[in-house]
Symmetry: C2
Subunit: 284 residues, 2 copies
Protein backbone atom coordinates (compact mmCIF):
# COMPACT_ATOMS: atom_id res chain seq x y z
CA UNK A 1 0.00 0.00 0.00
CA UNK A 2 1.45 3.43 -0.93
CA UNK A 3 1.44 6.16 1.75
CA UNK A 4 -1.56 8.48 1.42
CA UNK A 5 -1.20 12.24 1.96
CA UNK A 6 -4.39 14.23 2.64
CA UNK A 7 -4.53 17.89 1.57
CA UNK A 8 -6.96 20.68 0.70
CA UNK A 9 -8.00 20.18 -2.90
CA UNK A 10 -8.80 20.32 -5.74
CA UNK A 11 -5.63 19.81 -7.76
CA UNK A 12 -3.65 23.02 -8.24
CA UNK A 13 -3.89 24.52 -4.73
CA UNK A 14 -0.78 25.72 -2.90
CA UNK A 15 -1.42 23.01 -0.29
CA UNK A 16 -1.20 20.39 -3.04
CA UNK A 17 2.22 21.83 -3.98
CA UNK A 18 3.30 21.46 -0.34
CA UNK A 19 1.98 17.87 -0.38
CA UNK A 20 4.10 17.18 -3.50
CA UNK A 21 7.19 18.53 -1.71
CA UNK A 22 6.30 16.31 1.26
CA UNK A 23 5.96 13.25 -1.02
CA UNK A 24 9.43 13.89 -2.47
CA UNK A 25 10.96 14.19 1.01
CA UNK A 26 9.52 10.83 2.05
CA UNK A 27 11.80 8.91 -0.27
CA UNK A 28 9.60 5.81 0.02
CA UNK A 29 9.88 2.72 -2.17
CA UNK A 30 6.50 3.43 -3.72
CA UNK A 31 5.38 6.98 -4.66
CA UNK A 32 2.91 8.44 -2.15
CA UNK A 33 -0.72 8.91 -3.13
CA UNK A 34 -2.15 12.45 -2.81
CA UNK A 35 -5.76 12.60 -1.49
CA UNK A 36 -7.55 15.94 -2.00
CA UNK A 37 -10.25 16.89 0.57
CA UNK A 38 -12.80 19.74 0.29
CA UNK A 39 -11.74 21.34 3.60
CA UNK A 40 -8.78 21.56 5.97
CA UNK A 41 -10.89 20.02 8.78
CA UNK A 42 -11.67 16.95 6.65
CA UNK A 43 -8.01 16.56 5.59
CA UNK A 44 -6.86 16.56 9.24
CA UNK A 45 -9.76 14.32 10.37
CA UNK A 46 -8.79 11.71 7.76
CA UNK A 47 -5.50 11.22 9.66
CA UNK A 48 -7.20 11.07 13.07
CA UNK A 49 -9.60 8.45 11.63
CA UNK A 50 -6.69 6.54 10.03
CA UNK A 51 -7.96 6.94 6.46
CA UNK A 52 -4.72 8.75 5.53
CA UNK A 53 -1.25 8.36 7.01
CA UNK A 54 -0.29 12.03 6.61
CA UNK A 55 -2.01 15.40 6.18
CA UNK A 56 -0.35 18.56 4.84
CA UNK A 57 -2.08 21.72 6.09
CA UNK A 58 -1.27 25.47 6.02
CA UNK A 59 -0.62 26.93 9.47
CA UNK A 60 0.62 30.48 8.83
CA UNK A 61 1.09 32.92 5.96
CA UNK A 62 3.72 35.66 6.19
CA UNK A 63 1.17 38.33 5.17
CA UNK A 64 -2.22 37.13 6.37
CA UNK A 65 -1.17 35.43 9.59
CA UNK A 66 -2.29 32.22 11.30
CA UNK A 67 -4.77 29.77 9.81
CA UNK A 68 -7.25 29.51 12.70
CA UNK A 69 -9.05 26.40 11.47
CA UNK A 70 -5.79 24.40 11.39
CA UNK A 71 -4.84 25.35 14.97
CA UNK A 72 -8.38 24.74 16.26
CA UNK A 73 -8.66 21.31 14.60
CA UNK A 74 -5.23 20.12 15.78
CA UNK A 75 -6.25 21.14 19.33
CA UNK A 76 -9.66 19.41 19.15
CA UNK A 77 -8.59 16.11 17.57
CA UNK A 78 -6.20 14.37 19.92
CA UNK A 79 -2.96 12.52 19.20
CA UNK A 80 -1.92 14.50 16.09
CA UNK A 81 1.83 15.08 15.86
CA UNK A 82 3.85 17.38 13.62
CA UNK A 83 6.39 15.39 11.60
CA UNK A 84 7.82 18.27 9.58
CA UNK A 85 7.28 21.97 8.84
CA UNK A 86 7.50 23.13 5.20
CA UNK A 87 7.87 26.75 4.11
CA UNK A 88 6.78 27.44 0.54
CA UNK A 89 7.09 30.72 -1.42
CA UNK A 90 3.67 31.94 -2.59
CA UNK A 91 3.55 33.75 -5.92
CA UNK A 92 0.17 34.53 -7.44
CA UNK A 93 -0.81 34.85 -11.12
CA UNK A 94 -3.79 36.66 -12.64
CA UNK A 95 -5.45 34.03 -14.83
CA UNK A 96 -8.12 34.90 -17.39
CA UNK A 97 -9.40 34.20 -20.92
CA UNK A 98 -9.69 37.98 -21.47
CA UNK A 99 -7.43 39.41 -24.16
CA UNK A 100 -6.39 42.42 -22.07
CA UNK A 101 -6.54 43.29 -18.37
CA UNK A 102 -8.96 46.15 -19.15
CA UNK A 103 -11.72 43.66 -20.07
CA UNK A 104 -11.79 42.13 -16.61
CA UNK A 105 -14.83 42.97 -14.47
CA UNK A 106 -14.73 40.25 -11.79
CA UNK A 107 -11.84 38.62 -9.92
CA UNK A 108 -12.43 35.33 -8.09
CA UNK A 109 -10.13 33.76 -5.51
CA UNK A 110 -9.71 32.53 -1.94
CA UNK A 111 -10.17 35.54 0.42
CA UNK A 112 -6.53 35.23 1.62
CA UNK A 113 -5.23 35.37 -1.97
CA UNK A 114 -7.45 38.39 -2.76
CA UNK A 115 -6.10 40.10 0.39
CA UNK A 116 -2.49 39.35 -0.62
CA UNK A 117 -3.02 41.09 -4.00
CA UNK A 118 -5.11 44.01 -2.72
CA UNK A 119 -2.60 46.70 -3.73
CA UNK A 120 -2.06 45.29 -7.23
CA UNK A 121 -5.82 44.95 -7.78
CA UNK A 122 -6.52 48.50 -6.55
CA UNK A 123 -3.91 49.84 -8.96
CA UNK A 124 -4.66 47.75 -12.08
CA UNK A 125 -8.31 46.77 -11.66
CA UNK A 126 -9.85 49.47 -9.43
CA UNK A 127 -13.40 48.82 -10.67
CA UNK A 128 -13.37 45.01 -10.69
CA UNK A 129 -15.65 43.20 -8.27
CA UNK A 130 -13.74 40.86 -5.93
CA UNK A 131 -15.60 37.61 -5.27
CA UNK A 132 -14.44 35.08 -2.64
CA UNK A 133 -14.10 31.35 -3.45
CA UNK A 134 -13.40 28.26 -1.31
CA UNK A 135 -9.92 27.76 -2.81
CA UNK A 136 -7.66 29.44 -5.36
CA UNK A 137 -8.28 26.55 -7.75
CA UNK A 138 -12.08 26.58 -7.40
CA UNK A 139 -12.08 30.12 -8.73
CA UNK A 140 -10.80 28.86 -12.13
CA UNK A 141 -14.11 27.21 -12.98
CA UNK A 142 -15.74 30.53 -13.99
CA UNK A 143 -13.12 31.57 -16.53
CA UNK A 144 -13.85 29.52 -19.66
CA UNK A 145 -17.51 30.61 -19.87
CA UNK A 146 -16.85 34.28 -18.98
CA UNK A 147 -13.99 36.24 -20.64
CA UNK A 148 -14.66 39.23 -18.31
CA UNK A 149 -13.75 37.07 -15.30
CA UNK A 150 -10.29 36.49 -13.84
CA UNK A 151 -8.94 34.33 -11.02
CA UNK A 152 -5.92 34.59 -8.74
CA UNK A 153 -4.10 31.27 -8.34
CA UNK A 154 -0.68 29.73 -8.95
CA UNK A 155 1.04 29.49 -12.34
CA UNK A 156 0.92 25.75 -11.86
CA UNK A 157 -2.89 25.80 -11.51
CA UNK A 158 -3.12 27.76 -14.79
CA UNK A 159 -1.00 25.08 -16.46
CA UNK A 160 -3.03 22.15 -15.04
CA UNK A 161 -6.34 23.63 -16.20
CA UNK A 162 -4.94 24.95 -19.54
CA UNK A 163 -5.76 28.59 -18.82
CA UNK A 164 -3.75 31.69 -19.83
CA UNK A 165 -1.78 33.79 -17.33
CA UNK A 166 -2.40 37.53 -17.95
CA UNK A 167 -0.05 38.93 -15.27
CA UNK A 168 2.56 37.49 -12.92
CA UNK A 169 3.42 38.02 -10.10
CA UNK A 170 0.47 40.00 -8.71
CA UNK A 171 1.07 39.65 -4.96
CA UNK A 172 1.92 42.89 -3.14
CA UNK A 173 4.75 41.50 -1.01
CA UNK A 174 7.53 39.61 -2.83
CA UNK A 175 8.44 37.76 0.39
CA UNK A 176 5.04 36.09 0.58
CA UNK A 177 5.37 32.54 1.92
CA UNK A 178 3.27 29.99 3.80
CA UNK A 179 4.29 27.53 6.49
CA UNK A 180 2.68 24.08 6.38
CA UNK A 181 2.62 21.26 8.92
CA UNK A 182 2.90 17.59 7.97
CA UNK A 183 0.71 15.76 10.52
CA UNK A 184 0.41 12.10 11.44
CA UNK A 185 -0.34 9.89 14.46
CA UNK A 186 3.30 8.75 14.79
CA UNK A 187 5.22 9.96 17.85
CA UNK A 188 7.53 12.83 16.91
CA UNK A 189 10.25 14.02 19.27
CA UNK A 190 13.39 14.62 17.18
CA UNK A 191 13.87 17.99 15.54
CA UNK A 192 14.92 21.58 16.10
CA UNK A 193 11.48 23.00 16.88
CA UNK A 194 8.75 22.00 19.35
CA UNK A 195 5.10 23.03 19.22
CA UNK A 196 2.59 22.91 22.04
CA UNK A 197 -0.61 24.64 23.15
CA UNK A 198 -2.20 25.28 26.52
CA UNK A 199 -5.27 26.82 28.12
CA UNK A 200 -5.15 28.74 31.40
CA UNK A 201 -7.38 28.44 34.48
CA UNK A 202 -10.08 31.15 34.41
CA UNK A 203 -9.65 34.47 36.22
CA UNK A 204 -6.06 34.17 37.34
CA UNK A 205 -4.37 37.54 36.62
CA UNK A 206 -0.85 37.24 35.23
CA UNK A 207 -1.50 33.61 34.24
CA UNK A 208 0.01 33.96 30.78
CA UNK A 209 3.20 35.57 32.17
CA UNK A 210 3.72 32.69 34.62
CA UNK A 211 3.29 30.22 31.77
CA UNK A 212 5.74 32.01 29.45
CA UNK A 213 8.32 32.49 32.19
CA UNK A 214 8.96 28.72 32.34
CA UNK A 215 10.65 29.12 28.95
CA UNK A 216 12.39 32.47 29.60
CA UNK A 217 13.95 31.18 32.84
CA UNK A 218 15.64 28.40 30.85
CA UNK A 219 16.75 30.66 27.96
CA UNK A 220 14.40 28.82 25.62
CA UNK A 221 13.49 31.12 22.75
CA UNK A 222 9.91 31.21 21.50
CA UNK A 223 9.76 31.71 17.74
CA UNK A 224 6.01 32.22 17.81
CA UNK A 225 3.03 32.70 20.11
CA UNK A 226 -0.50 32.77 18.82
CA UNK A 227 -3.73 33.09 20.78
CA UNK A 228 -6.95 31.41 19.65
CA UNK A 229 -10.37 31.76 21.29
CA UNK A 230 -11.22 28.83 23.58
CA UNK A 231 -14.80 29.11 22.24
CA UNK A 232 -16.05 29.12 25.85
CA UNK A 233 -16.37 32.87 26.30
CA UNK A 234 -14.96 36.08 24.85
CA UNK A 235 -11.58 36.82 26.45
CA UNK A 236 -10.78 33.15 27.19
CA UNK A 237 -7.90 31.85 25.03
CA UNK A 238 -5.70 28.94 24.04
CA UNK A 239 -2.05 29.78 23.42
CA UNK A 240 -0.03 28.06 20.67
CA UNK A 241 3.71 28.28 21.21
CA UNK A 242 6.71 27.25 19.05
CA UNK A 243 9.98 26.71 20.92
CA UNK A 244 13.39 26.76 19.22
CA UNK A 245 14.55 23.53 20.88
CA UNK A 246 13.82 19.81 20.82
CA UNK A 247 11.59 17.77 23.11
CA UNK A 248 14.71 15.68 23.72
CA UNK A 249 16.44 18.59 25.52
CA UNK A 250 16.43 18.50 29.33
CA UNK A 251 15.45 22.20 29.49
CA UNK A 252 12.34 21.68 27.35
CA UNK A 253 11.34 18.65 29.44
CA UNK A 254 11.71 20.68 32.66
CA UNK A 255 9.83 23.68 31.23
CA UNK A 256 6.92 21.46 30.18
CA UNK A 257 6.80 19.82 33.61
CA UNK A 258 6.57 23.26 35.25
CA UNK A 259 4.07 24.53 32.66
CA UNK A 260 1.68 21.77 33.70
CA UNK A 261 1.25 23.53 37.05
CA UNK A 262 0.17 26.82 35.44
CA UNK A 263 -1.96 25.50 32.61
CA UNK A 264 -5.42 23.98 32.66
CA UNK A 265 -4.93 21.72 29.62
CA UNK A 266 -1.56 21.23 27.91
CA UNK A 267 -1.09 19.43 24.57
CA UNK A 268 2.23 18.55 22.94
CA UNK A 269 2.43 18.40 19.14
CA UNK A 270 5.97 17.05 18.89
CA UNK A 271 9.41 18.16 17.70
CA UNK A 272 10.26 18.46 14.01
CA UNK A 273 12.59 20.16 11.55
CA UNK A 274 11.74 22.99 9.14
CA UNK A 275 12.35 22.60 5.41
CA UNK A 276 12.43 25.70 3.19
CA UNK A 277 11.25 24.51 -0.22
CA UNK A 278 11.89 26.10 -3.57
CA UNK A 279 9.23 25.86 -6.21
CA UNK A 280 10.08 24.10 -9.41
CA UNK A 281 9.94 26.62 -12.30
CA UNK A 282 6.79 26.33 -14.42
CA UNK A 283 7.76 25.52 -17.98
CA UNK A 284 5.46 27.10 -20.55
Amino acid sequence: MPLSIAHLGPSGTYTEMAALVCAELLDAAEPAQLCPYPSIVQAIASVAEQQSQLAVVPVENSIEGGVGVTLDTVWQLNRLQIQQALVLPISHALISCAETIEQIQTVYSHPQALAQCQGWLTQHLPKAQLVPANSTTESLQYLKQDPTAAAIASQRAAQIYHLPVLAYPVNDHPDNCTRFWVLSLAKSNAGSHTSLAFSLPANRPGGLMSALQVFAQRDLNLSRIESRPSKRSLGDYLFFVDIEASLQSIEVQAAIQELEQYSETLKLFGSYSIKFAELAPVTP
Copy 2:
Protein backbone atom coordinates in the same frame (compact mmCIF):
# COMPACT_ATOMS: atom_id res chain seq x y z
CA MET B 1 -23.75 68.59 10.33
CA PRO B 2 -24.71 65.25 11.92
CA LEU B 3 -21.89 62.91 13.02
CA SER B 4 -21.10 60.26 10.40
CA ILE B 5 -20.32 56.66 11.42
CA ALA B 6 -18.53 54.48 8.85
CA HIS B 7 -19.14 50.70 8.90
CA LEU B 8 -18.97 47.60 6.73
CA GLY B 9 -22.15 47.51 4.65
CA PRO B 10 -24.56 46.94 3.12
CA SER B 11 -27.48 47.49 5.49
CA GLY B 12 -28.22 44.44 7.65
CA THR B 13 -24.67 43.40 8.63
CA TYR B 14 -23.75 42.78 12.25
CA THR B 15 -21.35 45.73 12.03
CA GLU B 16 -24.28 47.97 11.11
CA MET B 17 -26.04 46.76 14.28
CA ALA B 18 -22.95 47.73 16.28
CA ALA B 19 -22.94 51.13 14.54
CA LEU B 20 -26.61 51.61 15.57
CA VAL B 21 -25.70 50.83 19.20
CA CYS B 22 -22.83 53.32 18.89
CA ALA B 23 -25.19 56.01 17.50
CA GLU B 24 -27.53 55.52 20.48
CA LEU B 25 -24.66 55.86 22.96
CA LEU B 26 -23.56 59.17 21.42
CA ASP B 27 -26.62 60.96 22.67
CA ALA B 28 -26.00 63.85 20.23
CA ALA B 29 -28.47 66.63 19.48
CA GLU B 30 -28.87 65.39 15.92
CA PRO B 31 -29.08 61.67 15.06
CA ALA B 32 -25.81 60.31 13.63
CA GLN B 33 -25.63 59.32 9.97
CA LEU B 34 -24.56 55.73 9.18
CA CYS B 35 -22.22 55.38 6.16
CA PRO B 36 -21.83 51.84 4.76
CA TYR B 37 -18.49 50.98 3.06
CA PRO B 38 -17.71 47.88 0.94
CA SER B 39 -14.73 46.84 3.10
CA ILE B 40 -13.35 47.24 6.62
CA VAL B 41 -10.21 48.91 5.20
CA GLN B 42 -12.30 51.58 3.44
CA ALA B 43 -14.43 52.21 6.55
CA ILE B 44 -11.31 52.81 8.69
CA ALA B 45 -9.59 54.85 5.95
CA SER B 46 -12.61 57.18 5.77
CA VAL B 47 -11.84 58.27 9.37
CA ALA B 48 -8.11 58.69 8.71
CA GLU B 49 -9.03 60.84 5.66
CA GLN B 50 -11.60 62.81 7.72
CA GLN B 51 -14.55 61.79 5.54
CA SER B 52 -16.25 60.22 8.61
CA GLN B 53 -15.90 61.15 12.27
CA LEU B 54 -16.20 57.58 13.56
CA ALA B 55 -15.77 54.02 12.26
CA VAL B 56 -17.23 50.91 13.90
CA VAL B 57 -15.22 47.77 13.03
CA PRO B 58 -15.15 44.15 14.29
CA VAL B 59 -11.94 43.24 16.10
CA GLU B 60 -12.57 39.80 17.57
CA ASN B 61 -15.17 37.04 17.54
CA SER B 62 -15.47 34.63 20.48
CA ILE B 63 -15.42 31.60 18.14
CA GLU B 64 -13.38 32.59 15.08
CA GLY B 65 -10.80 34.84 16.79
CA GLY B 66 -9.18 38.10 15.75
CA VAL B 67 -10.09 40.07 12.64
CA GLY B 68 -6.64 40.45 11.08
CA VAL B 69 -7.58 43.17 8.59
CA THR B 70 -8.83 45.46 11.39
CA LEU B 71 -5.62 45.12 13.44
CA ASP B 72 -3.39 45.52 10.36
CA THR B 73 -5.22 48.64 9.15
CA VAL B 74 -5.24 50.33 12.58
CA TRP B 75 -1.47 49.70 12.75
CA GLN B 76 -0.79 51.02 9.23
CA LEU B 77 -2.95 54.17 9.36
CA ASN B 78 -1.58 56.45 12.05
CA ARG B 79 -3.43 58.49 14.67
CA LEU B 80 -6.47 56.24 15.04
CA GLN B 81 -7.76 56.02 18.62
CA ILE B 82 -10.27 53.66 20.20
CA GLN B 83 -13.15 55.60 21.78
CA GLN B 84 -15.21 52.64 22.93
CA ALA B 85 -15.39 48.84 22.74
CA LEU B 86 -18.78 47.24 22.08
CA VAL B 87 -19.58 43.56 22.60
CA LEU B 88 -22.58 42.29 20.64
CA PRO B 89 -24.21 38.84 20.83
CA ILE B 90 -24.18 37.12 17.41
CA SER B 91 -27.11 34.89 16.59
CA HIS B 92 -27.46 33.57 13.05
CA ALA B 93 -30.61 32.68 11.10
CA LEU B 94 -30.99 30.40 8.07
CA ILE B 95 -32.84 32.53 5.52
CA SER B 96 -34.38 31.08 2.36
CA CYS B 97 -37.39 31.17 0.06
CA ALA B 98 -37.46 27.34 0.11
CA GLU B 99 -40.56 25.78 1.68
CA THR B 100 -38.58 23.19 3.66
CA ILE B 101 -34.95 22.83 4.71
CA GLU B 102 -34.69 19.67 2.57
CA GLN B 103 -34.97 21.70 -0.66
CA ILE B 104 -31.80 23.70 0.07
CA GLN B 105 -28.77 22.85 -2.10
CA THR B 106 -26.54 25.91 -1.60
CA VAL B 107 -25.80 28.04 1.48
CA TYR B 108 -24.21 31.49 1.01
CA SER B 109 -22.59 33.60 3.72
CA HIS B 110 -19.46 35.33 4.98
CA PRO B 111 -16.80 32.63 5.63
CA GLN B 112 -16.78 33.45 9.38
CA ALA B 113 -20.55 32.96 9.61
CA LEU B 114 -20.35 29.64 7.68
CA ALA B 115 -17.60 28.53 10.08
CA GLN B 116 -19.71 29.48 13.12
CA CYS B 117 -22.58 27.27 11.89
CA GLN B 118 -20.46 24.36 10.64
CA GLY B 119 -21.89 21.81 13.10
CA TRP B 120 -25.52 22.77 12.42
CA LEU B 121 -24.94 22.67 8.65
CA THR B 122 -23.21 19.26 8.80
CA GLN B 123 -26.15 17.87 10.78
CA HIS B 124 -29.09 19.44 8.90
CA LEU B 125 -27.70 20.12 5.40
CA PRO B 126 -24.85 17.61 4.95
CA LYS B 127 -25.04 17.72 1.15
CA ALA B 128 -25.42 21.49 0.65
CA GLN B 129 -22.62 23.38 -1.07
CA LEU B 130 -21.22 26.18 1.12
CA VAL B 131 -20.36 29.31 -0.89
CA PRO B 132 -18.46 32.26 0.62
CA ALA B 133 -19.69 35.86 0.22
CA ASN B 134 -18.18 39.26 1.10
CA SER B 135 -20.69 39.89 3.90
CA THR B 136 -23.63 38.11 5.54
CA THR B 137 -25.99 40.58 3.87
CA GLU B 138 -24.52 40.24 0.37
CA SER B 139 -25.42 36.56 0.47
CA LEU B 140 -29.15 37.47 0.56
CA GLN B 141 -29.15 38.66 -3.08
CA TYR B 142 -29.28 35.09 -4.46
CA LEU B 143 -32.38 33.99 -2.56
CA LYS B 144 -35.33 35.50 -4.44
CA GLN B 145 -34.32 34.05 -7.81
CA ASP B 146 -33.33 30.62 -6.46
CA PRO B 147 -35.54 28.74 -3.95
CA THR B 148 -32.85 26.04 -3.52
CA ALA B 149 -30.47 28.67 -2.09
CA ALA B 150 -30.18 29.78 1.55
CA ALA B 151 -28.13 32.41 3.35
CA ILE B 152 -26.85 32.76 6.91
CA ALA B 153 -27.35 36.26 8.31
CA SER B 154 -29.12 38.03 11.16
CA GLN B 155 -32.87 37.98 11.79
CA ARG B 156 -32.74 41.73 11.32
CA ALA B 157 -31.27 41.35 7.81
CA ALA B 158 -34.13 38.96 6.91
CA GLN B 159 -36.60 41.58 8.08
CA ILE B 160 -34.94 44.47 6.18
CA TYR B 161 -34.91 42.52 2.91
CA HIS B 162 -38.36 40.91 3.45
CA LEU B 163 -37.06 37.33 3.36
CA PRO B 164 -38.32 34.34 5.39
CA VAL B 165 -36.33 32.79 8.27
CA LEU B 166 -36.35 28.96 7.99
CA ALA B 167 -34.38 28.18 11.17
CA TYR B 168 -33.09 30.18 14.15
CA PRO B 169 -30.62 30.11 15.83
CA VAL B 170 -28.23 28.04 13.69
CA ASN B 171 -24.87 28.95 15.30
CA ASP B 172 -23.08 26.08 17.04
CA HIS B 173 -22.04 28.01 20.16
CA PRO B 174 -24.80 29.89 22.01
CA ASP B 175 -22.20 32.26 23.57
CA ASN B 176 -21.16 33.59 20.17
CA CYS B 177 -20.34 37.30 20.39
CA THR B 178 -18.18 39.85 18.59
CA ARG B 179 -16.17 42.76 19.99
CA PHE B 180 -16.15 45.97 17.96
CA TRP B 181 -13.98 49.08 18.23
CA VAL B 182 -15.32 52.59 17.73
CA LEU B 183 -12.43 54.52 16.13
CA SER B 184 -11.83 58.23 15.60
CA LEU B 185 -8.95 60.73 15.44
CA ALA B 186 -9.84 62.27 18.84
CA LYS B 187 -7.39 61.68 21.71
CA SER B 188 -8.70 58.97 24.01
CA ASN B 189 -7.16 58.38 27.44
CA ALA B 190 -10.00 57.83 29.90
CA GLY B 191 -11.40 54.32 30.36
CA SER B 192 -10.82 50.97 32.02
CA HIS B 193 -8.90 49.33 29.14
CA THR B 194 -5.85 50.37 27.13
CA SER B 195 -4.78 48.97 23.76
CA LEU B 196 -1.36 49.21 22.16
CA ALA B 197 0.81 47.34 19.68
CA PHE B 198 4.54 46.99 19.21
CA SER B 199 7.14 45.37 16.97
CA LEU B 200 10.41 43.94 18.29
CA PRO B 201 13.96 44.44 17.02
CA ALA B 202 14.98 41.48 14.80
CA ASN B 203 16.89 38.49 16.15
CA ARG B 204 16.84 39.31 19.86
CA PRO B 205 16.01 36.06 21.72
CA GLY B 206 13.60 36.53 24.61
CA GLY B 207 12.49 39.90 23.22
CA LEU B 208 8.79 39.23 23.71
CA MET B 209 9.33 38.16 27.34
CA SER B 210 11.21 41.38 28.15
CA ALA B 211 8.38 43.38 26.59
CA LEU B 212 5.62 41.55 28.50
CA GLN B 213 7.50 41.72 31.79
CA VAL B 214 7.08 45.51 31.93
CA PHE B 215 3.39 44.82 32.62
CA ALA B 216 3.83 41.80 34.91
CA GLN B 217 6.32 43.65 37.15
CA ARG B 218 3.65 46.29 37.81
CA ASP B 219 0.79 43.80 38.35
CA LEU B 220 -0.91 45.05 35.22
CA ASN B 221 -3.13 42.31 33.83
CA LEU B 222 -3.25 41.69 30.08
CA SER B 223 -6.73 40.70 28.96
CA ARG B 224 -5.49 39.81 25.47
CA ILE B 225 -2.37 39.35 23.38
CA GLU B 226 -2.54 38.74 19.66
CA SER B 227 0.33 38.37 17.22
CA ARG B 228 0.07 39.55 13.60
CA PRO B 229 2.67 39.10 10.88
CA SER B 230 4.80 42.22 10.33
CA LYS B 231 4.63 41.39 6.58
CA ARG B 232 8.43 41.75 6.43
CA SER B 233 9.33 38.08 6.76
CA LEU B 234 7.85 34.85 8.12
CA GLY B 235 8.43 34.68 11.87
CA ASP B 236 8.52 38.49 12.36
CA TYR B 237 5.48 39.77 14.29
CA LEU B 238 3.59 42.71 15.70
CA PHE B 239 1.99 42.16 19.10
CA PHE B 240 -1.38 43.70 19.99
CA VAL B 241 -1.97 43.92 23.74
CA ASP B 242 -5.01 44.94 25.81
CA ILE B 243 -4.27 46.06 29.39
CA GLU B 244 -6.90 46.12 32.14
CA ALA B 245 -5.99 49.66 33.28
CA SER B 246 -6.18 53.25 32.05
CA LEU B 247 -3.53 55.32 30.31
CA GLN B 248 -4.09 57.79 33.17
CA SER B 249 -2.62 55.34 35.72
CA ILE B 250 0.99 55.93 36.77
CA GLU B 251 1.80 52.21 36.40
CA VAL B 252 0.64 52.14 32.77
CA GLN B 253 2.62 55.29 31.98
CA ALA B 254 5.77 53.77 33.54
CA ALA B 255 5.25 50.43 31.77
CA ILE B 256 4.92 52.18 28.40
CA GLN B 257 8.05 54.24 29.04
CA GLU B 258 10.01 51.04 29.75
CA LEU B 259 8.43 49.19 26.82
CA GLU B 260 9.86 51.82 24.46
CA GLN B 261 13.33 50.48 25.25
CA TYR B 262 12.46 46.93 24.22
CA SER B 263 10.27 47.62 21.20
CA GLU B 264 11.21 48.78 17.72
CA THR B 265 7.95 50.65 17.03
CA LEU B 266 5.26 51.24 19.67
CA LYS B 267 1.80 52.61 18.93
CA LEU B 268 -0.85 53.60 21.50
CA PHE B 269 -4.51 53.25 20.56
CA GLY B 270 -5.95 54.92 23.67
CA SER B 271 -8.00 54.01 26.76
CA TYR B 272 -11.71 53.29 26.56
CA SER B 273 -14.57 51.52 28.30
CA ILE B 274 -16.32 48.33 27.19
CA LYS B 275 -20.08 48.27 26.66
CA PHE B 276 -21.94 44.94 26.53
CA ALA B 277 -24.92 45.53 24.27
CA GLU B 278 -28.13 43.58 24.14
CA LEU B 279 -29.87 43.18 20.82
CA ALA B 280 -33.34 44.59 20.49
CA PRO B 281 -35.78 41.72 19.87
CA VAL B 282 -36.89 41.40 16.24
CA THR B 283 -40.65 41.82 16.05
CA PRO B 284 -42.23 39.72 13.33
